[in-house]
Symmetry: D2
Subunit: 346 residues, 4 copies
C-alpha cells in the first residue's frame, strides 16, 4: 500500500528519534523547564530573530489554536478567518467551546484577503448596532493555507497593517509552516513571519515530529499567566522533554527546513507525475499538499493500492482528492504511484 | 417627535398595567410559583392546545435563546439558522458564549429553507471528516423573521419534517410571534406552531409587555432540571409575578392577538403611506416591521421629526430603513408621519 | 396566611407603581438609553458621591453576579468568597458556568474575614505550584450577608486594603444593600461603600422594586464593552425603562433608604415578638432577615398560618428558620404573627 | 544530582523506546485508528476483563479529567471529590473552565469516604432549595490518591454502591493506577476497578510512557460522539501511534505492572532509608509517592544534592516533603540518597 493521505502517517524523523533515545536516561524537571525545552526555545528565538520572544511548546494544532485564541480574545470578541480556516471547519468547534465566535469571511483559494478583513472591521466600527454584535477581536490565517496555498510577503504585510490599523492581533497558524517557508513560490522567511504578526506557531506534528507545536509571541507579548492557561486547557505535558528534545533537534542545523524542503520537492514530482498522466490539479498549491480532480471510477481503482483523501465533490463525475508528501516520502513511492496510475489509465 | 423605531419604545399595554396594579398588594411565593404565573401557563397551554406542555416564563429574547439552545445541544453540536438569524447577528455571541457554534446558512428573505437545511444535514452525515466537525444539532428559525417575513404552514411543515428526518429538534424564536399569527398573509395558528416544532417561545416584550417571553415545550419535553438551568443563566425572576401577571393578562380574552392585530393594521397603513409617497418597500413584510429604501438626503430630514432605524446600506444613495408599529401606534401618529414625509417631498 | 418568607413576596412599592403608570405612555429609546434610566443613574452617582461612576441597570441578582464576576476575572482566575456566599451556594453554579472557580473560605457568621483573605492570597503567592492552581483573582462579599449580618466600616476597610495590597478587585453584592445601610448596627454609608470597593450593586428586587439591580463601578472603571457583555449574558432589557423608572423613583427623596428602614424596624419588632415568646434567635442579624431556632413540632403548627423558610437542621429537635420583612410588612401582620405563636404556645 | 521529585522526570521505559524505534517507519492512518492503537485497546480490554469496553488514548491527566468529566456532566451538575483531589487543586481550574463546579468534601488521608458522599447526595436530595444549587452529578476519586494512599476493595465497593444508589457515575483518576494495583497494601485488581466504576483511566505518563492516558468505559458506555469531544478539547493526537505504540508495549507481557511494582519496591526501600535515619513519614502511603516531615534546615542542605518537592508547611520548623520513585529509580540512587542524609545528620 502507498500512503499519500497525510504528512502525519509516519513516525518521527530519524534524527529526532535518535535524540529521544540518546537523552532518554537523563533526569529533568517537568512541564517544559527541562534543558532540552530551554535550548529548543532559544534556538527558535534565534531562527525567528526575536531574542525577546516568549516561546511555548504544546502538543497539537487544535489545542494550540483554541488555547492561543481564547487567551487573546476579550469578552464578546470573536476571531475572523477565511471560511476554509481550520478553526472554522475541522476543529469540532474548539474555539466556540471557549465561548467565542468564529467570524468567517469568504476565502480566496484558501486565503483571507486584507481588503475583506478591512471591510469587515470598518463596517463593524460603523455599525450602529455594533454593541449588540460580536466584536471582531483578532484575525487568524494559516500559512500555508488548508489548501496548500501561500500568502506572499506583501499579502502578509497588508494583513498585518490592517490588523494594526484596527488594533487587533494577527495570529498565524503554522501547522505546516515549514512547507510554506521552503516553497519555491514563497518570498517569506521565519523572521519575516515573526515581524508580521502578534503570535504564530511552528508546527512540528506535520513536519517530522511525533507531536509538538511551538507557539511564538515575537515581542515577548504572551498573555499573562499563559503557562497556567496552557495547563487549564489540558495542554501541558508533564514530560515536557518530549516536545523539547524534538524541537531542539528540528532547529539544529536547519533540520526543520530540510525536512520541509524535501517534502516540497517530492510534492512537485508528484504533481508532475499526476499531470503528465492526465490528472488535472485543483489549484496551484506550491507546498506539500497537492489537490487533483479525479474521475470517480478512477478513484475506486486507485484506492486499491494508494491511500489518499477525497476532499470534496467536484462535479457529478469527479472528486477533488488530496495527496500529501512528508519527510518520509521516497522516490520509490513516487515511482510506484506513477505505475499505479498508468496501470489504471491503460 | 414620532417614534417608529421599535415595538419596545413604549411601556406596557394598559390592561397589563391595570392587572399589575390590582394584584400588587397580594403576597405570593417567588420564582414563578405564584398563582398568576400558574394561571398564565395554563392559559398558554390552552391557547396552544397542548395540555401537557411545559411552560416557563423568562425575561428577554437573547436570554431565552441562549438558555433554550444551550439546554438542547449536546457536546460538539451547533445550531443551524439563517445567516440573518438574531442569534447569528444581534445577540453579542450569547450562543457561542455557552460553548456552541452557530451554523449559518444563506437566508431567503430572512427565512431558512427546508431544502438548505436538509442538504446541510445530509452532507454532514456523508462527510468522512464529520467527526472533526461541529455537528448540526438543532435548527433555529424566527417567526416572523428578523425582516418581518413569515413561514407558511407548508414551509413550517417541511422544516419540521426535515428536522424529524434527521432527528434534531426545531426551535422557533417567537419574539414577535403575535405579529406573525395575526398577519393577513399567515396561514399559521398557535396550535399549528406547537405541533410543528420541539420548543418555541411567545414573545411578550415586543408585544405589549414590559418584559417576558414564554417558553413552551409542547410535549412536556423540557430538558431535565430546566428550572435550574434558567437559574444558572441568571434568567430566573425572584418576583416571578412580574411576567406571570402580564402573560395572564395577555392570554385573557385574546388580548395577545388583539395587540398584534392592531400593530399589523397600523403597519399596513404605514406601508400605504410610504408607498403612495414614493418610498419603495425593501421587501414584502406582512407584519409590524416594515422596511423601505430611502434616499440618504431624505433620511437626514426625516430624522428631525421621526425616530426610526437605518438597517443597512442599500446603494450609494439609498439606505434601507426600518419602521415598526406596536399596540401603541395611533392613527394620529401615522397621520403626522405622512405630513412629515409630504413636507420633505414638497 | 401571613407571609414572612422573603422580601420579594410582594409587588413593587406604591410610589414605583405610580411612576410606572405615569410614564407608561411616553416613547423612549430602548436598552437603557431612555431618560428615566439616565436620570436614575445620575441620582445613583450622586447618592454614592461618585460623579464619575459607571452605572448599569440589570434585572436580577444571580445574573448580576455572574455578569460582573466573569467580566472582571482573567483566564485561570477564580473569585474568593465566604463559603456561605450566595454565588457559592444558591446560584446553580452560574459563576462556574462562565468558566471560573468559586474559592470558598470559612465564613464567620456569614462574613469573609480580611485575615482569611490575606492568608489565602499570601499563601497562593508563596505556593511553588501556584501556576498549576486557580489564581484568586477577585473577592466577593455580600452586604448584608446571606445570614443578615453586616460588615463594619473598619472590616470593610480591612478587606479593601487586603484586596489592594494583593491587587485584586473587591466586589460587593448588595442585593439587600438598603437593609445594611439603614440598620441601627451599621456605621457604613453608600458613599463609604463606593470608596471601599471596585464594583458593587444596589439591589432593587429585594428592596421595593419588581426587578432591577444597579451595578456601580465607582471610578468609572467598568470593563470595556460592558454593555455588550450584559447583552451577551442575556441581561439587557429591551425596555430599559422598566428598571430605569423604578431606580429613578427609588433614588428620589431617599425612598430607597426609607423602604429599607421600615423593613428593619419591622424586623426588630419581629425579633422582639419571637424572643419574648421564647424563640431563640440563631444569630445577631441587625437587618431584615431574622433567623430563629424553632422546635420542629412548633414549625408544623406555625406553617398552617405563616409562610417562612426552614433554613437548615439545627439539632435533632430544632430547625433554623428564616423570617423576612419588607416595605410591605405591616404592624397588623406582626400582631397576627404574635397571636399565632401565642396560640401554639398555649 | 539525585532526582526524587516525580515519576515523570525521566524518559520512557526502554522497551517502549524500542517499540517506537522499531515501528517508526511504518505508515499508519492517523487519529488513533492505527494498528498499534487498536492492538493496545484490545489488550487493555483483556487486562480489564471488559470485552465490550470503549477505550480512548489521550495525552495527559488534566486533559483527560476535564474531557471525561465535562462529557459526563449535564447542565447545572458538578463533580464531587475530596478537597485534596487533583481536579480541585492542581489543574488550574480546568473543570470549572468547562462550566462545572467542583464540589469538594473533606478528605480522609486523601480519600473520599462513601459515608460523606452519601450524606452529600442525601442532603442535596432533601434540600428544599436544591433547584437553586449545583447538582452533585458524578463522583471523582484518584487511585492511588494524591498523597499516595489507596482505597481498599471494600471502600471502592461502598463508593460505587453509593453512586449507584444515587444514580450518578463514578470516575476513577488512575494517573498512577499501576502503583495502586501493585502495592503490597492493595487488594484491588484492574478487573475489579473496571467492575466498580463507570469510567476510569490508566495512567501512562507517570508509569513509564512519555505521555498517554487510556480512558476506559468498561460497559461500552462512552458518551456519544466522544471522539469528537476529544477533538474539541484539543486532546486528539494526529499521530495516534505515539500513545498506541506505548500502550501496546505497556500491556504486553505485564510490563505496566512490572514497572509499577519496581517503583513501589524502591519506594519501600526509600521509606526504610528515611525512617532508619530518623525522618518521620507524614502518612502511610504504600505506593511510589512517599511523604516525610523534614526539619527546614535539613531541607536546605539536602537540596544541594537531591531534587524533591516541598509539599506544604508542617509546623514552624518542619516541612512535609514528597519523594517519588519510578521505573528508572536504581538501587545506586537510593544508596546515594542515604549517603546524603547521613552526611547531613552527622
Amino acid at each position: 500500500m502507498l500512503y499519500f493521505d497525510t504528512d502525519y502517517n509516519n513516525g518521527l524523523h530519524p534524527l529526532l528519534l535518535q535524540r529521544l533515545s540518546e537523552t532518554n536516561d537523563q533526569r529533568t524537571i517537568g512541564y517544559g523547564f527541562d534543558e532540552f525545552s530551554i535550548k529548543a526555545k532559544q534556538k527558535i528565538r534565534e531562527a525567528c530573530e526575536c531574542p525577546g520572544a516568549d516561546v511555548f511548546l504544546l502538543t497539537g494544532g487544535t489545542q494550540t489554536n483554541s488555547t492561543v485564541i481564547s487567551s487573546l480574545l476579550h469578552a464578546v470578541e470573536g476571531v475572523v478567518c477565511a471560511d476554509t480556516g481550520h478553526i472554522n471547519v475541522h476543529e469540532a468547534g474548539a474555539v466556540e467551546y471557549t465561548g467565542h465566535k468564529v467570524i468567517a469571511l469568504p476565502n480566496h483559494d484558501g486565503r483571507l484577503k486584507a481588503e475583506d478583513l478591512d471591510r469587515c472591521l470598518t463596517e463593524f466600527a460603523a455599525d450602529p448596532t455594533a454593541d449588540h454584535c460580536v466584536r471582531p477581536g483578532m484575525a487568524y490565517i494559516s500559512f500555508p493555507t488548508e489548501v496548500g496555498t501561500l500568502y506572499s510577503a506583501s499579502e502578509l504585510d497588508a494583513l498585518y497593517q490592517t490588523c494594526q490599523k484596527h488594533q487587533i492581533p494577527l495570529f498565524i497558524d503554522g501547522a505546516r509552516m515549514g512547507y510554506g517557508l521552503t516553497s519555491d513560490a514563497s518570498d517569506v522567511t521565519l523572521p519575516y513571519i515573526a515581524r508580521h504578526c502578534d503570535v504564530f506557531y511552528i508546527g512540528g506534528t506535520k513536519v517530522g515530529a511525533l507531536c509538538g507545536e511551538a507557539v511564538v509571541f515575537p515581542q515577548g507579548n504572551a498573555p499573562r499567566h499563559f503557562f497556567s492557561i496552557i495547563k487549564q486547557h489540558g495542554a501541558l505535558l508533564a514530560k515536557g522533554r518530549l516536545t523539547g528534545v524534538q524541537f531542539d533537534a528540528l532547529f539544529t542545523d536547519g533540520l526543520y527546513l530540510k525536512i520541509a524542503r524535501h517534502a516540497n520537492q517530492q510534492a512537485k514530482r508528484l504533481r508532475d507525475i499526476m499531470t503528465r498522466n492526465g490528472l488535472r490539479p485543483y489549484n496551484d498549491s506550491p507546498t506539500n499538499q497537492q489537490f487533483f480532480i479525479i474521475p470517480n471510477e478512477m478513484i475506486k481503482k486507485m484506492e486499491q493500492d494508494v491511500v489518499f483523501e477525497t476532499w470534496g465533490c467536484y462535479d457529478e463525475e469527479h472528486t477533488t482528492c488530496r495527496f500529501v508528501t512528508s519527510w518520509a516520502t521516497t522516490d520509490d513511492e513516487l515511482g510506484a504511484l506513477e505505475k499505479v496510475i498508468r496501470g489504471i489509465g491503460s
